[in-house]
């Protein structure tokens, strides 16, 4: 029993730190630390820098271009990237569709798609949810009808993240309506430039538009772009959900946000004194810091088991539930820390390089929006209630 990193792991951490110090553009890190809006180019730029180093896909097997890291190394990498203010590598390509292609895709799909995911040439998005199919995903209705070498896809997807910038979308579509709903679903890769694909951004509660609806009207998709067997898409989707536990807890990001919360609480004043001296508020920081410690060690325990290749338990769901709750607590406390400067809504302040007069302290500008935005975390990727269904039914056998 030993909570400390091994000498090798410490050396690895130094290597990651040195790389970040040399290669993470300062303007990008500043944007992330200050909560500024990130552009498509920002994400792509960082993706390409990582790709150049061979570090963009930490979880990939070596044969496909992964670095061959242990789960603990992946955790260290995630933590250091978060602390340094690196933009995230969006999960849709590297962490979601790629493992499915690696496991179930054709040789041609592997040859064509995987290098372009690594390089950042293809931006991927996800087509799962529909207006009538949220938690009950298997009820999805978007149809794909076979016509010769093509499927003709008709239907509507929604709650699609950053699809307005995407080149490709992986979709669950219905190819059969007999039997159990899960049995008639297929997994298709669709070029976003195909005629009949329409993207409409949805303005969210924070005023931003990172989420889209996507319509498919008679969209022709080559049968060669189906992953695996027809009507087996549900299996692949489940594989995807259970595939990667690393990073699901968002520990690195939350540690960075906790540090920011403390910084803000030291700078804010209450009755003329630093807010952090107010025990009532400080205790709330303490509470979430302790919860984050519990999450971090739980995450490390799960990673250690992953490296030891023991069977997974309820951990992925636990990490999702607690990770999202802690992210929400942190964003709520940051908003609360700036007091009435949570009120101003000045979206242009979130643009990098904006030089107007800020409403209140500069660090206050993104905080309420962040709080509103983070409500999504307990809803996406299987709502926390669905996660509790998984724990109680699949793990505990109730």
């Amino acid at each position: 029993m030993n909570l400390d990193y091994s000498p090798d792991e410490l050396a690895f951490r130094e290597e990651v730190r040195a790389f970040l110090a040399a290669s993470l553009p300062r303007d990008l890190a500043a944007k992330v630390h200050e909560g500024k809006r990130l552009t498509r180019d920002d994400f792509v730029k960082w993706h390409r820098i990582l790709a150049g180093k061979g570090w963009v896909a930490p979880g990939w097997p070596k044969e496909y271009g992964g670095p061959g890291w242990s789960a603990v190394q992946q955790h260290i990498f995630d933590e250091e990237c978060s602390a340094a203010g690196a933009p995230i590598v969006l999960p849709f390509g590297v962490r979601m569709v790629a493992p499915v292609i690696q496991r179930f895709g054709s040789e041609e799909q592997k040859r064509h798609f995987l290098p372009k995911i690594l390089s950042g040439e293809h931006w991927w998005c996800q087509g799962y949810s529909e207006p009538g199919s949220g938690s009950d995903l298997a009820s999805l209705k978007t149809r794909a009808e076979r016509q010769g070498d093509h499927y003709v896809v008709n239907g509507q997807k929604t709650w699609n993240t950053l699809g307005q910038w995407a080149d490709w979308i992986f979709c669950l579509v219905r190819t059969a309506s007999e039997g159990r709903p899960q049995e008639g679903i297929s997994f298709l890769l669709i070029d976003m430039k195909t005629p009949g694909v329409t993207v409409r951004p949805i303005r969210m509660l924070d005023g931003e538009a990172e989420i889209n609806e996507i319509w498919f009207e008679d969209v022709l998709v080559p049968v060669a772009n189906r992953v695996g067997d027809e009507n087996k898409g549900w299996t692949y989707a489940k594989f995807l959900l259970g595939h990667e536990r690393t990073g699901i807890a968002g520990v690195g990001r939350s540690k960075r946000e906790l540090k920011k919360l403390k910084d803000i609480a030291r700078r804010e004043r209450s009755g003329g004194r630093p807010l952090i001296e107010d025990a009532r508020f400080r205790d709330r920081i303490a509470q979430v810091e302790i919860e984050l410690m519990a999450l971090e060690v739980t995450n490390l325990r799960v990673l250690a088991e992953e490296d030891a290749r023991r069977a997974p338990g309820p951990e992925a769901s636990i990490l999702k539930v607690r990770g999202s709750e802690i992210q929400q607590s942190l964003s709520e406390l940051m908003m609360q820390a700036v007091g009435s400067y949570g009120l101003p809504y000045v979206p242009e302040e979130l643009d990098a390089g904006w030089s107007g007069e800020s409403a209140g302290p500069e660090y206050a500008a993104p905080l309420s929006g962040l709080y509103f935005n983070m409500r999504k975390t307990s809803i996406y990727s299987g709502s926390n209630e669905i996660q509790k269904n998984i724990i109680s039914q699949m793990i505990l056998g109730l």
Partner: protein
């Protein structure tokens, strides 16, 4: 990083578990709790034979040189079995203090006999006006010739009545609340001037309020330097809290197992009550707490090898705060999900619940430790 149990620890765990499963059944425990002493000399002797009483003492003191992770294994098993024998008072606190700060003569006089199961100890530190604050000591030790005379009052001293000797904190300089000026003394249970109001505790243990009225103590009974005991006291309390965290973990897991089993077997409305989503999600929440509590018990045990006392305190308090909250939640929900049978004395569930509740109130509850952790945030950059 390594979360696996080394081979010797796995053996220790198996040994303790097997012993308790055979020798410490719930009905037998009822008899022990109801006995005059409130603990079993027979069991204590067996614990000594298993090597558990000297587990964490140094080899040269008659121990086995174990650390807080060994204590954690023992305490987790004790939690599940609801062991009432005075392990924390005697081994973790009393012998722990003597091992940390005692001189050679004191270690020789007490540690071997503790390891052999021949002597019991208690740690009399907390006072009514202090609540949980470790430096608020009003009990006084005044010079009396070559020795000392102790006057004061100590509250809820675990195992005081059964102890052969009591480690007493007393102020030799300064005022209540000062970190400097506190000393530790080994006082015989039957020394003149020691009187007690002994009582049972809610969870089946034994404790007493201890009054010290002109109690003589030779200078050879002083443990460590005069006036400089606060570090030893805080370390002892942290060690006890780390042990309690593991004990609570054992209880939490036991309660969750019992509750899950009940949800699968108890039928209402024609089906097992575990089919109802309201109860499923409660059980999921209890499971989450247990997994996280295990992480925090590891944090507490690891903290005891931390050389920086502030960092040790921070981590132990984080663990005790978290586990205190988790214990409260799991205990209350386990009783709730059992329904009326959960609030009976008959079922072990209520006994586990009471033990968790008392662990939370022992050596600082969740609010106290949250505050301690929070206050240390101010000191940090």
């Amino acid at each position: 990083m390594d979360f696996s149990l080394a081979e010797e620890r796995r053996l220790l765990q198996d040994t303790v578990k097997r012993f308790l499963a055979n020798e410490y059944k719930f009905e037998k425990r009822r008899g022990i709790v109801a006995s005059a002493d409130g603990y079993s000399r027979e069991i204590w002797k067996q614990l000594a034979e298993l090597g558990l009483l000297g587990l964490t003492l140094r080899d040269e003191d008659g121990g086995m040189g174990g650390d807080a992770f060994d204590t954690a294994i023992v305490m987790e098993a004790f939690g599940r079995a609801l062991v009432v024998e005075p392990y924390v008072a005697t081994v973790v606190l009393g012998a722990g203090v003597i091992s940390d700060a005692g001189n050679a003569a004191q270690r020789e006089a007490w540690l071997g006999p503790v390891a052999a199961g021949e002597k019991l100890l208690a740690f009399a530190h907390a006072e009514p006006a202090a609540r949980y604050a470790p430096s608020f000591v009003e009990t006084k030790a005044k010079r009396d010739g070559a020795g000392w005379k102790l006057d004061g009052f100590k509250s809820v001293v675990l195992n005081a009545a059964n102890a052969d000797a009591i480690v007493v904190s007393a102020r030799t300089a300064g005022n209540a609340g000062d970190r400097d000026g506190i000393s530790l003394f080994l006082v015989d249970r039957n020394a003149p001037g020691v009187s007690m109001r002994a009582y049972a505790t809610q969870d089946g243990g034994r404790a007493a309020d201890v009054k010290l009225a002109g109690v003589p103590a030779g200078d050879d009974r002083r443990i460590g330097d005069a006036g400089a005991a606060i570090g030893t006291i805080e370390r002892a309390l942290d060690r006890a809290n780390a042990a309690l965290c593991s004990e609570a973990l054992g209880v939490i897991d036991a309660l969750n197992e019992a509750t899950l089993e009940y949800l699968k077997t108890r039928k209402q409305f024609g089906q097992p009550i575990g089919r109802f989503q309201a109860l499923q999600h409660r059980m999921a929440d209890m499971t989450i707490k247990a997994v996280e509590a295990r992480s925090m018990a590891v944090v507490a045990a690891a903290a005891m090898s931390e050389t920086d006392a502030t960092e040790r305190a921070r981590r132990v308090s984080a663990a005790k705060a978290f586990i205190g909250q988790a214990a409260r939640f799991v205990g209350q929900q386990a009783v709730q999900l059992h329904g009326a049978i959960g609030v009976t004395d008959e079922l072990i569930v209520s006994h586990w619940f009471k033990r968790l509740t008392m662990i939370n109130a022992t050596f600082g509850d969740a609010d106290y430790h949250l505050g301690r952790f929070s206050d240390l945030m101010l000191a940090a950059k």
